[in-house]
Amino acid sequence: MRSAALIAGAAATALVAAGAITYAVAEDGGGSSNSPAPTADSADAGFARDMAVHHQQAVEMSYIVRDRTKNVEVRRLAYDIAQTQANQRGMLLGWLDLWGLPKVSADPPMTWMGMGDMASGKDGALMPGMATNTELKKLNTLSGKPAEVLFLQLMTDHHKGGIHMAEGCVEKCRVGVEKRLAQGMVDAQQSEIQLMADMLKARGAKARS
């Protein structure tokens, strides 16, 4: 009788513990783990799609300037941007894969944040802050200081557009981990804009706008 009571007590304790663990794990997802995966027209999906494209150009620009200058400071900044944004892009695309959503949309970019009419999309500048194909071609023809200055100017504009879009996700995204990544982009790119302003000044130049 006594041992039966003991077993019952142990079983009850185990059940309570299991329940508590399940609850704690569920809570850890920021309350989002129980909600269904985002839909294609959500801010979560839209930001993942559009920022993946926006980031790709920053990666490309960084590779170009690393071929056009030997300046260690600019090459290191470009390395940092290329590595960071390529990784973040991978996260965004990976989430779309997990949610089973397309990587493209027939709607214009940034429709998810009510700004589908923001960018002209002309000459490859698909979203605010993005460089045109003509500007990228020009960067590819310059060397040394002129290349560094144009890169810093283009990347400053690129970051400004990126921050604006990331703020849209901070405001509208519902997936906790994505919101946090977006906030991280805002903070990091703001600090890089400051750094680039100093680097431009040291080269007797300044941001374009």
Binding site: E60, L93, K103, V104, A106, G121, L126
Partner: protein, 223 residues
Amino acid sequence: MGSAKNTGTAARKARIEEMRRAEQSRERRTRIVKIAASAVVVAGLVVGGVAVVHAQSGKKDSSASDSKNSASGHFVAGSDGVNTWKGTLGRTHVTSTVNYPMHPPVGGNHNPVWLNCNGDVYTKSVKDENAVHALEHGAVWVTYNKKASAADVKALTTKVKSTPYSLMSPYDSQKDPIMLSAWGHQRTVKSASDPAVNSFFEKFVQGSQTPEPGAACTGGLSQ
């Protein structure tokens, strides 16, 4: 006395030590033989397995087979209008010309340099071997022949230019005026405004068919 006894003990110890060493080296030898034997068996299994797979893939379809296993098989029509390649599509990098069994090609061995596919629109025909590499990176390839209308070509140009991981080029020898291709998949569309264009893009631009997700559409060959 004591010393003699000690000598005897030492000799015995030495003999035991020697026997132990002999035993150990015998065990080592046995172990080496066992390892070698299993390695041979495993290698045999692998070689045999590969040979079987090769023999089967070769057997599957020789009708549309290109030399050196680049691509063999046939299209299977889907109810959604998308043709899916059943068979094998090689992924070896080659600098030679490849004879693809379908036009435009949807896979197979290809050139080491990918064709840029970052919304790139080519107005002259491109090399199959470079374009196939772009498909491997997850791009959708829009192609048209001389029967396509100028309005459709213009509308598709706009679409491709605004879509990273897509590219477009004329393709005179294809059977229909406008065709869309991705790795292992292909379809014909009636016009640029055919809703099948958007659904093909949504499904296949960096879609789950991509053999190399995350690979670039920039930094390759541009015309």
